[in-house]
Amino acid sequence: MTLKLMQGNEAVAMGALAAGCRFYAGYPITPSTEIAEVLSRQLPKLGGKFIQMEDEIASMAAIIGASIGGLKSMTATSGPGFSLMQENLGYAVMTETPCVVANVQRLGPSTGQPTSASQGDVMQARWGTHGDHPIIALSPTSVPQAFDLTVTAFNFSEKYRTPVILLLDEVIGHMRERFDMPDFENVQRVERLGVNVPPEWYKPYGDSVSDVPPMANFGDGYRYHVTGLFHDPMGYPTQRLDEIEAWIQRVNRKIERNLDEIILTEADGLEGAQTVVVAYGATVRSARHAVKLARQRRHKVGLLSLLTIWPFAEAEVARLAQNCRRIVVPEMNLGQLALEVERVAGRSKVRRVNLANGEMIHPQMILEAIEAH
């Protein structure tokens, strides 16, 4: 263990190293740049590679290539760069290439306000790339959790052969907290399912028990075709309806069948709560404060913190909605995840608390929503 005052972005970088990341390609952008800075120093010491690319389109392409080559790979960016990454993010989904994309959200749209906090990219993380696709997005609430969820992001990406988005906000990215970092050898790592058949038998996108096909690394003698077109079990483009349908079903199923493992939440005092606050990211910190104040005033309040924001914790929220009178959803945006909560719980039950000027949500704003009639 190493006790440090560590920044959230640094914790992401250290978490990536602990998870086994050995390739980073990116283009620096506030407020994510420290992730690149730390990895540019640390990766070479571990035999890894760091490349500063010409832009974010190329960065995303590079980490997909490196991952197909066998290395755990990541990039980091903020809103403007995340917009540029969307096309290749879809390519990673289509080619089922494990990789991690950290987006430290700043105030947008466009260049916006580089040093201001925001949670404005929640829907972009879900639907920024086109077509029906599953996605996993994780959102830490503290520096230690930035480390842990980065490890989890790599583990999910390798296990399910999918890109995973780490959705931080400027507060968590730049904040420094006391963190007793675990030794890397004590961190639980998941490795991708390798191939145990000879090259001539290998079907890169063939049937598999878990819906996740074993992945051969380029260069290991398994020649196969990688394309963004719908492809058959051998990886070649197909127009057969049965093969297209089978692909779409399988790729969505591999996430949907594992929601119990993928959806990470923290529950605080939900039992018997009349009002429940549903929050994520830095806003959880405001919510915890507000919930404690509300309890001192004898309100029965619970807090559900969503560490996994995509896929959305539909079952948990539906259960809450049956038992509580009101759900308060604070967000540093004009209401994005609230749309999902409203879809599940019904609009009349949900009270939104929104702020989109670059500041954190003040606990008092949440307290007022809890107490409002």
Partner: protein, 195 residues
């Protein structure tokens, strides 16, 4: 607008021993580094909990920048200052911008030469930049002098902890300069207390 006073006082009820410090100055003066050092003194060397946040503009020099440090005994929920127990302001702009949620009766420390308009009736005026020049010959050590003044007046972290934290962040070869700057700040706080 939220009633910051109400929740600021209430924050004492939610986090054990919560103390909120804000350090502000011109961009480039090292106030964010001062915040990091203060938080390290509390979290690493005094064994407390601490969280440090910051806000700054896109420019590398100039403008106003601030660092915030919240110190407590256990879990710290809200990471930013709700109602500052102490504010250190090394420039007029920083004082104007960041004094708004200084707690009633909170401690305001200003650079006596640079901050002439005060937002509250009582402030501790220390010639921080001049002391830095006298003690080390380098104006750039003003942030460490300011930390000395703050710690000397408040004891928010122990003297041993702040010294270890300053030296832990001092670039190689500047240890003595930084030690001298810290001492100048601590001494001036002592003089202030005896007024």
């Amino acid at each position: 607008m939220p009633d910051k006073n109400a929740s600021g006082n209430a924050s004492k009820l939610t986090d054990t021993g919560r103390i909120e410090i804000r350090l502000a100055g011109e961009g480039g003066q090292g106030m964010i580094l001062a915040g990091i050092i203060l938080a390290e003194a509390a979290a690493i060397y005094d064994g407390k909990n601490a969280v440090q946040t910051q806000s700054y503009g896109p420019e590398a020099r100039g403008g106003a920048s601030k660092a915030e440090v919240v110190i407590g005994e256990g879990q710290l929920d809200y990471p930013e200052v709700l109602n500052a127990d102490a504010l250190v302001a090394l420039s007029q702009e920083a004082c104007d911008r960041y004094a708004s949620n200084l707690k009633r009766g909170g401690l305001l420390i200003v650079d006596a030469e640079k901050v002439t308009r005060l937002p509250v009736s009582h402030a501790v005026k220390v010639p921080v930049a001049d002391l830095a020049l006298q003690a080390t010959g380098k104006a750039i050590t003003a942030n460490v002098v300011a930390l000395g003044v703050l710690v000397g007046l408040t004891g928010v972290v122990s003297r041993q902890a702040i010294e270890k934290a300053v030296l832990g962040r001092a670039p190689k070869g500047t240890e003595e300069i930084n030690r001298a700057a810290l001492k100048a700040g601590l001494d001036s706080a002592g003089a202030e207390l005896h007024l």
